[in-house]
């Protein structure tokens, strides 16, 4: 029985191979997500990614839709060594396609590039950058290096800042129309996008809010300290009698991020 953050990956892999969840021959198996990054808890699933040259022929619980060829990613929810394990089965060629798409799309602009990928595909690339190899260490090292030197970060920063601009425009328009409540929500959205841009600039690629606080703790930026981030994220200082002041404070903090995060 394994619990918390302690994972015997060899034991988990052996169990999964014995139960035909993981094929005995594949390019690589890597773990990623909260457990690998040290943020897991007793309820955390272990996220495993199996990379193969051939399509998965075993059991699966879900087929995740994507934009690659083939367009589906089989996923299986199982358990091993007393821990819940989620396994996604990716083809090496799909990973290759993602790499090609990122560089190809960079030429067409960040927004169409990022929006032509699913959030799961974006998460996959981000998770690969922070993965722990279980088998196929060299495969993971090569792919990680390829994504690190690709346009992925630039695309994600551009895209997040684009979304940030849209949210700011909403917030200011709503303030001008005295729709202050909507402006507060738009400012909060703008803040999230600006912080995501900052995190992507630091190589932490994600479009999920789930671990944003943990992720912010891992970076040091002159644009925003963790304490300032947390104060704004949790709306400390928000005065219900003067919400427009909080909107202005948040948008000015976002402007500092936009000034610090380089694009291209």
């Amino acid at each position: 029985m394994q619990s918390g953050l302690v994972v015997d990956y060899a034991e988990v892999l052996s169990h999964l191979i014995d139960n035909e969840v993981v094929p005995s021959r594949c390019e690589a198996v890597f773990a990623s997500g909260s457990v690998v990054r040290g943020w897991g808890n007793a309820n955390s699933d272990l996220d495993l990614y199996v990379i193969s040259a051939h399509p998965h022929e075993g059991e699966f619980d879900q087929l995740l839709q994507g934009t690659l060829t083939p367009s589906q990613i089989p996923r299986r929810n199982t358990s091993a060594c007393g821990r819940r394990v989620d396994v996604e089965y990716w083809l090496d060629d799909q990973v290759e396609q993602l790499l090609g798409r990122v560089d190809e799309m960079h030429l067409g602009g960040a927004r169409p590039a990022a929006e032509s990928l699913t959030s799961r595909e974006i998460e996959f690339m981000g998770r690969l950058l922070h993965a722990r190899p279980v088998t196929g260490e060299s495969w993971l090292a090569e792919r990680r290096a390829a994504f690190m030197s690709s346009a992925l970060r630039a695309i994600m920063v551009d895209w997040c800042l684009d979304l940030y601009d849209n949210a700011v425009e909403d917030a200011v328009g709503q303030l001008n129309a005295s729709d202050v409540d909507s402006a507060v929500l738009a400012a909060s959205r703008a803040f999230g996008c600006a912080v995501d841009a900052l995190l992507c600039h630091h190589g932490d690629i994600s479009v999920s809010r789930k671990w944003r606080a943990r992720r912010m703790r891992t970076i040091e930026s002159p644009a925003m300290s963790y304490s300032e981030y947390w104060r704004l994220e949790t709306m400390q200082g928000f005065d219900p009698s003067a919400p427009e002041e909080w909107v202005a404070t948040v948008l000015r903090a976002c402007q500092r991020i936009a000034m610090e995060v380089p694009v291209q």
Binding site: D165, V172, L251, R252, Q255, A258, M259, P262, V263, Q264
Partner: protein
């Protein structure tokens, strides 16, 4: 042309909806409806000093300090930067620090 003329004791403020991008050491700034403006060197330094509290004179002094020169040598350039930023719809003059409006100057 801007409606307000920047004067040393005026306090500039970046519009909340200003679009800002850093490209290398330069900053590209724009209002949502006007052409972008590329800021380099001293203009970037000046823009970074705009916080809705400092006067243009104080911003000039800060920029001069960075270059190790007298503020009087940079103030005219900083005033020109402010005019360009106001014309681009990126900066507004909220008021002079003493509370006197700079409108109509």
């Amino acid at each position: 042309m801007s409606e307000q003329a920047p004067v040393p004791d005026a306090v500039p403020e970046v519009r909340l909806d200003a679009r800002i991008r850093r490209v290398g050491d330069a900053l590209i700034v724009a209002s949502p409806t006007q052409d972008a403006l590329e800021l380099t060197d001293a203009a970037v330094l000046a823009f970074r000093q705009i916080n809705g509290a400092q006067t243009i004179g104080e911003i000039s002094a800060a920029v001069a300090d960075c270059y190790g020169v007298e503020w009087s040598l940079v103030q005219a350039d900083i005033l020109d930067v402010m005019v360009a930023l106001m014309d681009a719809g990126v900066v507004t003059l909220r008021a002079t620090k003493g509370g006197t409006s700079s409108k109509g100057a």
